[in-house]
Amino acid sequence: MDWNSIDWERLDRFVAGRGAPDEMAALGAWVNSDPELRALASLLRAVGEPSGADRREWDVRSAWQRLHRRMGAPPLQLGPLAAHPGASPLRRALSAAAVLVLVALASLWFVARWRGDTIPPRDFATRRSQTAVLELPDGSRVMLGPASSLRFRDRGVLGVGSSRDVYLEGEAYLEVKHDAIRPFRVHTAAGFVEDVGTEFLVSAYPEVPGMRVVVATGMVALYGTPPSIARRPLLTLAHGDVADLAVSGVATVTHDVNLAPYLAWTHGDLAFDGARLGDVIPALERWYDIEIRLSDSLLAERRVTATFRRESLSQVLELLALSLDVHVQREGRTVLLTSSAGSRP
């Protein structure tokens, strides 16, 4: 790129985020089309920020506590983290999770403790083959996917707190009553999503590290969990966007996605569009409460395109056997898939 030819007026409008949505989209495409231009834009946005040793990640929560003490209010009660009663799904996940996830959850716990004072959290959980619809006290609706849990505190969702925080493990589809003063946040081990008036899906099952966000209407902002990246949204997502946030904090987004397969389960269907069998299996296991084993790990790479509408388990297995050219053996709640003789290796 020739640095002399840069259109600074346009670059300025992009970096300052000033422009109509159409214009911003065009500017974004322009900036993203050239890695050097993108590097320049991201440096300009950090202009004047200290670098190197002087750079600090501001700890906003403890700063608020310091200020709060000086405001002449009674100090907040901070109990020990481990003293919380009840064996929640989050707690169980904690004991099983890898160190990285554990650190993320611990900070999440701290937030929950600190925010809620003495009001106990409320937990809702679905077992496998179950879904549930919850009405939250603020009027928002949550449809909880199978083998998922949602935790929140009445105080936060009722509106005394400054934000409405819910903590998700598993999958949920949310229709949020928007209130710009009290943002609605869905936290997972990998990060959190904040609504800007919207319906969206969040998926964060423990066996798939990271989280996925699918936006059906409106807009959401996606944040990472480590404080170093929680300060600003990683991405702002709109209708038709599917974003994946890896545990490493790297987010990728795909625009204009056909959302039907992602949202199918909220209508009682299961849909897959060219998905890896290896990714389909956990969903089937949760949906039908079964265990699926593969005789050959290469089978996991086969692609599945199918929509299941309230079919029985045996019908589903039959369909899978036909479309994937596999042999199905079922014993109770365990299913074994093997390559059919004579099929590709």
């Binding site: 002399n4 007026e9 000033r18 993203n32 440096l43 946005r45 002087d54 003063i181």
Partner: protein, 201 residues
């Protein structure tokens, strides 16, 4: 060196004015939750901004805390006619200028240390694509260019790009006319264009 992160670069949204007005109204009535959300929304950004004046992160935090504490203490009569955001940045700027008057020598020493004490090697020791980018030749040229800007132009550029303000909002923070903001931006463009001309791929 360019960032390896394949994340797309998108713009962030700022709160609509009506929301902020409601927040201010609630704070005037003593709503601590509204005050806390204002604090959460702006604390980190104000600290970044304050640090560009005072150079020390601790001093920057203390300064921003003082600004918020004053607002709370005088909440019943708090009337940010220029909007809460412009008010907060202007208050931090005033606070910083007052502080610098007393601590000019200290600040100068700190500033020299900042410039001289951080060879690129140290910055590169921190891992991550952002730091790789920060250590690039492009980043160095830009940092030098920003440091060379006259004080007011530097602030205009920081408020515009780091804080994503409109020209009118910058004018309110700095107490200058919109026309002046536009002139300063135009001169900054010309200056950056010249500085980047030295850069070779």
């Amino acid at each position: 060196m360019l960032p390896r992160r394949r994340q797309e670069f998108t713009h962030t949204l700022s709160a609509p004015d009506a929301v902020e007005r409601e927040c201010v109204a609630r704070i005037r009535l003593g709503d601590e939750g509204a005050f806390e959300s204002l604090f959460h929304a702006y604390y980190a950004r104000l600290c970044d901004f304050a640090q560009s004046y005072v150079r020390s992160p601790d001093v920057a935090e203390e300064l921003v805390q003082t600004v918020f504490l004053r607002i709370w203490e005088h909440r019943a009569t708090w009337e940010p006619i220029t909007g809460a955001r412009a008010y907060l940045f202007a208050a931090c700027r005033n606070q910083a200028l007052g502080l610098l008057k007393h601590q000019r020598v200290v600040a100068r020493v700190a500033r020299r240390a900042t410039r001289e004490g951080i060879p690129l090697g140290i910055a590169a020791a921190r891992v991550g694509p952002d730091d790789a980018l920060q250590a690039s030749e492009l980043a160095r040229v830009l940092r030098d260019a920003v440091d060379k800007l006259p004080e007011r132009r530097r602030l205009v550029v920081i408020l515009r790009w780091q804080q994503q303000m409109s020209h009118a909002e910058i004018a309110r923070v700095l107490g200058i006319s919109v026309k002046t903001v536009e002139v300063q931006m135009g001169r900054a463009f010309a200056f950056f264009r010249r500085q980047l001309a030295h850069l070779r791929r």
